[in-house]
């Protein structure tokens, strides 16, 4: 990967939007740094899959969405949720298994959702969100709205049957969905290059006769631009697209996995040089869009927001044991179905 970027003004974004993109990436990074800390302190049950290093994809894509659009995420979902505007306090509380969490402690990191915001949620099964996103797009078509659905998934999910089955249907029926493949090169420990002959997953789009594009997933503005085109195409009723974002997860598969047994340190270090946040910050300063001091302040404020979310989550009580028996079914008339 090379640090070759086009000038920011090339993308025609106003300053406010550029700053929001920078801050959203920071939120994701700081949120995950914070849960790493909470995990190390024994305050977080279970585990979580970290998105650190991939922040530009969620932010670049979601910058194109309206409040009425939908997106479905993966097991590595914090970034997508934050980029879609999820409440950080409720997210943090859910990650800690607390009552005030998005799912009242029933979902955890892998199942956070906010249906009121079109956030169809993280998902623990690799590739399972792809047909659900396709159904959401089908729904928009039948209901006659111009809503677009984003389907986020990783390189490994592109080898699930659901990937092929779903894109086939979306292409045949010109559904308003954009498939975003985050190729971070590894499915847990397995190098995608060892189990897949296709160099670029995006070329699989050809099999379904839809646009397939490869983009630098660590360049938030390129991701923004490429996905903008796909979102517009979907909104116009011209059908789905597949975008492959080349990226890298800095951490292991999940908290607790050092992620180094199956990867060379050199590879990881090279990708860290291509950090989506650091490089964007350098561009913002170099192109005199924001000063170093202005960005320092944004960073300080963002850390404060994350710290407040963490404090809120830590102080929230654990759910009452009776909560186990709630929310299985939509119940009418008080009789419980079990």
């Amino acid at each position: 990967m090379e640090n070759k970027f086009k000038p920011i003004k090339h993308y025609g974004l106003d300053k406010e939007k550029v700053l929001k993109m920078y801050q959203d990436m920071l939120k994701i990074r700081y949120f995950e740094n914070k849960i790493t800390y909470l995990y190390s302190r024994g305050l977080m049950p279970g585990l979580a899959h970290l998105y650190i290093g991939e922040e530009a994809i969620a932010v670049g894509v979601c910058t194109n969405l309206t409040k009425r659009d939908f997106a479905i995420s993966t097991h590595r979902g914090h970034g997508h949720l934050i980029a879609q505007g999820a409440d950080l306090k409720k997210m943090m509380a859910e990650v800690l298994g607390k009552e005030a969490g998005y799912c009242k402690g029933k979902g955890g990191s892998m199942h956070i959702a906010d249906f009121s915001k079109g956030i169809l949620g993280a998902n623990g099964i690799v590739g399972a969100g792809i047909p659900i996103a396709t159904g959401s797009a089908y729904s928009a078509k039948v209901r006659g709205t111009d809503q677009v659905t984003i389907s986020f998934f990783g390189d490994a999910a592109s080898n699930q049957g659901t990937f092929h089955e779903s894109i086939n249907m979306a292409a045949a029926w010109k559904l308003p969905v954009v498939y975003i493949c985050e190729n971070n090169l590894y499915g847990i420990s397995v190098d995608i290059r060892k189990v897949t002959n296709t160099k670029d997953i995006a070329t699989r789009a050809r099999a379904y006769d839809i646009p397939g594009v490869v983009v630098d997933g660590n360049d938030v503005l390129e991701v923004y631009k490429v996905s903008q085109k796909a979102v517009e195409r979907a909104r116009k009723g011209e059908g789905p697209s597949l975008i492959e974002c080349k990226t890298y997860r800095w951490k292991g598969h999940h908290l607790g996995d050092p992620g180094q047994v199956y990867r060379l340190e050199k590879e990881t270090e090279e990708w860290k040089e291509h950090c989506p946040i650091k490089t964007f910050r350098e561009r913002l300063i170099k192109e005199k869009i924001f000063s170093k001091e202005e960005l320092d302040l944004i960073e300080k404020n963002t850390k404060k927001i994350i710290n407040e979310a963490a404090d809120f989550a830590i102080q929230s009580p654990y759910p009452n044991e009776n909560e186990v028996y709630e929310d299985l079914f939509v119940e009418e008339g008080g009789a419980k179905t079990r």
Binding site: G121, A128, P131, T134, G135, K141
Partner: protein, 327 residues
């Protein structure tokens, strides 16, 4: 009550038609549900009436078109997904069991999943091991799914309308041997609630619980047994989740004997589950051990000479009841 004579398949068409007319968010999708009108002719005429968007022929991708139905259910529609054979449920189990069943619970009650999955059960057509299974136990095992086993045409119609209106994922099992049979069905509109068993015949000597069309086989057996002065009470539970245990418990307290007839496999099956779930309440009222009549734990064979011997039927119910009551 005014009735009309229609087939079980026609009753399904009527239920879907009435609900699609009532609510524009009801859609139907699955293999061959459109122009062909369904492999079992249970969706005839709907494509012509509602068009190719609300009645969608899908590619042969069970897992993904079930997931597509789920995604549509989460975002404002009320889809009916047809899985042509119950055996194919196993192709869609991730979307059914890990997704549809779990999303409401995992999201802390945020999501609603108004999704009906229609599929089939039952042998008897020489369709062999991959097109004859009765896999209701498989989905009953997973929390978060309602499971419906209608018997006759009037039952299938009323229960399907309730399933479509339910805000939860419902697995709806239609019996393959019933589609072409004709029944009396009420003329006027009606629905049948879930979790309320139907007592088809009252009796004092033994209770027979029959799921799906085994309730009808049990009724026929009971009528023959009545001529021999054995009064069997026949119960159709209608839904397995939720299960109306009270009606079964009260009946067994009265009769002291219980035979459960279910076409699923015996091992870890519905019959064993019903028996165990009520045993504590009826133990001191029993005059004999609870028995079950199910499909043997073998793949369904092709030849009628092999298939029929392992599926429960009227004659086997008759024989088993006689043995249980007289000895």
């Amino acid at each position: 009550m005014k009735t009309k004579k229609i087939t079980y398949a026609q009753a399904i068409v009527e239920a879907i038609n009435e609900e699609m007319q009532r609510d524009k968010n009801v859609i139907l999708l699955g293999e061959d549900v459109g122009i062909l009108g369904g492999n079992f002719k249970a969706t005839v005429g709907l494509y012509e009436k509602y068009g190719g968007e609300r009645v969608k022929d899908t590619p042969i991708s069970e897992n993904s078109f079930t997931g597509l139905g789920l995604g549509a259910a989460l975002t404002g529609l009320r889809p009916i997904v047809e899985i042509m054979f119950g055996d194919f449920l196993m192709l869609a189990l991730d979307q059914i069991g890990n997704q549809a069943a779990k999303i409401r619970y995992m999201s802390g009650g945020q999501a609603k999943v108004p999704l009906t999955i229609r599929t089939t059960l039952g042998g008897g057509r020489s369709s062999a091991a991959q097109h004859s299974q009765s896999l209701q136990a498989l989905v009953c095992h997973i929390p978060g799914l309602k499971v419906v086993m209608p018997s006759s045409a009037s039952e299938v119609k009323g229960l399907l309308k309730t399933a479509i209106r339910d805000d939860n994922p419902v697995i709806f099992f239609e019996h393959k041997m019933e589609y072409n049979k004709t029944y009396e069905v009420p003329e006027e509109e009606y629905t049948i609630p879930f979790g309320v068993a139907n007592i088809l015949k009252e009796g004092k000597d033994i209770t027979i619980v029959g799921t799906s069309n085994q309730a009808l086989n049990a009724l026929k057996a009971a009528e023959v047994l009545a001529k021999e002065s054995i009064r069997a009470e026949v119960i159709d539970p209608r839904t397995l989740v939720p299960l109306d245990k009270d009606t079964i418990i009260n009946s067994v307290k009265k009769t002291g004997r219980l035979l459960i007839v279910d076409e699923g496999y015996e091992r870890c099956g519905v019959a064993g589950e019903i028996a165990m779930s009520i045993l504590k309440d009826v133990f001191y009222y029993l005059d004999a051990p609870i028995e079950r009549l199910t499909t043997a734990n073998y793949p369904l064979p092709f030849s009628p000479a092999l298939e029929f011997p392992i599926i429960p039927d009227e004659k086997k119910i008759y024989q088993r009841v006689k043995k249980m009551v007289i000895g």
